[in-house]
């Protein structure tokens, strides 16, 4: 991979620092009156999500990270992970349970995920921001106390996600969920 000079730094760039891939989330040009100029950047480790600050002298080079993003479709679950497939190349890949983490609750057949590869190895998976899914388990709604605004109750969806839904939502209904916040968005008409 190439490298960039400090004046080319942009938020959203992926760089390699100490052999780890980082995403640039903030960049500040600092220069004391008559002194050396610096760029102070805030970066997020793409594997661990840990955020650190780094400072470079202006003119120093930063290595770009060999990061690739691919859209891949969820196929099926195995005991040690989940299998995804690339629609174009038919490449298949198994994402280990450890990497899946709590994203496992969004594994819905045929859903298109974004998979981040660093040097060819998957390091992160991102589900679609909004997903539609069936409510498989929730207590029946109790009529009455709706005056105080939206009253919510717990529900479980077909993918195993636990979401708070309004009391009028019933088992078997389809709902739209924001996967970033794990929040109910709306009912989906069949």
């Amino acid at each position: 991979m190439g490298s960039v000079g400090t004046n080319e730094i942009r938020i959203g760039m992926k760089v390699e620092i100490d052999r780890e891939p980082y995403l640039i989330i903030a960049n500040e040009f600092v220069k004391p009156g008559k002194g050396q100029a610096f760029n102070r950047i805030k970066v997020k480790n793409m594997k661990t999500s840990r955020v650190v600050e780094k400072t470079y002298k202006s003119g120093e080079k930063i290595e770009l990270a060999d990061v690739e993003e691919r859209q891949m479709r969820f196929s099926y679950k195995e005991s040690d992970g989940a299998v995804f497939m690339d629609d174009q190349t038919f490449d298949q890949i198994t994402i280990q349970n450890q990497l899946l983490g709590d994203r496992g609750q969004w594994l819905k057949e045929d859903a298109l995920f974004e998979i981040i590869f660093y040097k060819g190895e998957p390091i992160d998976i991102i589900p679609p921001t909004f997903m539609e899914m069936k409510v498989t388990e929730t207590a029946p709604g109790i009529r009455g106390d709706t005056a105080s605004g939206r009253v919510m109750k717990p529900a479980t969806t077909e993918t195993g996600a636990k979401v708070q839904v309004p009391i009028f939502v019933e088992e078997g209904e389809r709902i739209k969920v924001d996967t970033r916040t794990c929040e109910y968005v709306s009912r989906v008409n069949a």
Partner: protein
């Protein structure tokens, strides 16, 4: 914002008029680049855009024009950030016979146009390092400086620049104007040096408000041979840093022996205006700044600086600046 900017430009000019300081309109295009280890010029076909009007004004001072100021645009290559822009507005003025402390007082008086009357705290470079980092910058081993700067490849000077800008400046000028003085002799640029408490220091100051550097002043050195020596050292430093050395402005050097005893200061007009309007970046007070380019398309701005913070009124600073001044929210400021 445009109206307030225009009003402050007028007030700035009135400030000098009442003090009998002559406005001089220096050309921006210069044959020889102003020399500094860390400031680069934008080149224009065998010439440069000036990074400050210092040489031009000093040549005129040597010819006897007396107290004078420049209020206009200067240009610095690759300086872009919330407090920097390649084209910005500088106020630079010279006062015959002024001592450094008189110059500090007058700079504070000028800044009152923007931030109101404030007390001035004087702090020496050495005391600042003692106070905020608990080190004596002259004696501290390089390794400790590098540890403090969290970088084991930087030179002593780089570390000091870093620590000053990151660990000291943010504390300066809180509810007061802080004048940082007595910089090391190696940071004298075009200022005189003197022995203070057994240490050779620069007769130079910088003024801070709210952690932001606003002005840089000198008791001006008129010894051409010392300045030439410093220039040659500067060019060597530029070469070592992989920068182009610049040809010396021999006319400027030749004029120096006639330079009267004077002090001078250069002040960032846009930063002062930004503080007046309580905005987080000078980009919002430059009618040619990033948020105002590209038909107010914010993409470039956001890539550089992240999203817009919100002002007290719940508006982004850009919305705030672009607001019609008839809007009553604009009258709050």
């Amino acid at each position: 914002m445009l109206k307030i900017r225009a009003q402050k430009l007028q007030e700035a000019r009135r400030f000098f008029e009442t003090r009998n300081v002559l406005e001089v309109d220096c050309g921006a295009l210069v044959k020889r680049a102003p020399l500094d280890p860390n400031i680069d010029c934008l080149p224009v076909e065998e010439a440069f855009l000036h990074t400050s009007p210092e040489y031009a004004l000093k040549k005129l001072l040597a010819k006897g024009i007396g107290d004078c100021y420049f209020l206009g645009h200067v240009y610095r290559k690759e300086e872009l950030g919330s407090l920097h822009n390649p084209e910005f507005t500088m106020v630079e003025w010279y006062r015959l016979g002024f001592t450094l402390s008189q110059m500090i007082q007058e700079t504070a008086a000028f800044l009152s146009i923007f931030v109101g009357e404030l007390p001035v705290q004087i702090l020496s470079y050495r005391t600042a390092f003692e106070k905020f980092l608990d080190i004596d910058y002259r004696e501290v081993p390089l390794q400790i400086l590098q540890n403090l700067a969290q970088n084991d490849t930087w030179s002593r000077r780089d570390c000091l620049h870093y620590l000053l800008s990151q660990k000291i400046e943010p504390h300066l000028g809180r509810n007061t104007l802080t004048a940082l003085t007595s910089f090391p002799a190696s940071e004298a640029a075009l200022a005189k040096t003197a022995i203070v408490d057994g240490e050779e220091v620069s007769l130079r100051f910088e003024i801070y408000y709210e952690g932001i550097e606003l002005a840089n002043g000198y008791h001006e050195l008129s010894d051409a041979s010392i300045i030439k020596e410093r220039f040659q050292k500067t060019n060597k430093a530029r070469e070592q840093a992989g920068k182009t050395p610049y040809l010396l402005d021999e006319n400027f050097l030749a004029s120096l022996d006639k330079l009267p005893d004077c002090s001078g200061v250069a002040l960032g007009f846009d930063r002062a205006l930004m503080l007046h309007l309580k905005l987080p970046s000078i980009q919002y007070v430059l009618p040619w700044g990033l948020p105002f380019l590209d038909n107010r398309d914010d993409t470039t701005f956001i890539q550089r600086f992240g999203s817009h913070p919100k002002t007290d009124g719940g508006l982004t600073p850009l919305e705030f600046c672009c607001m019609n001044s008839s809007d009553d929210r604009a009258n709050k400021i």
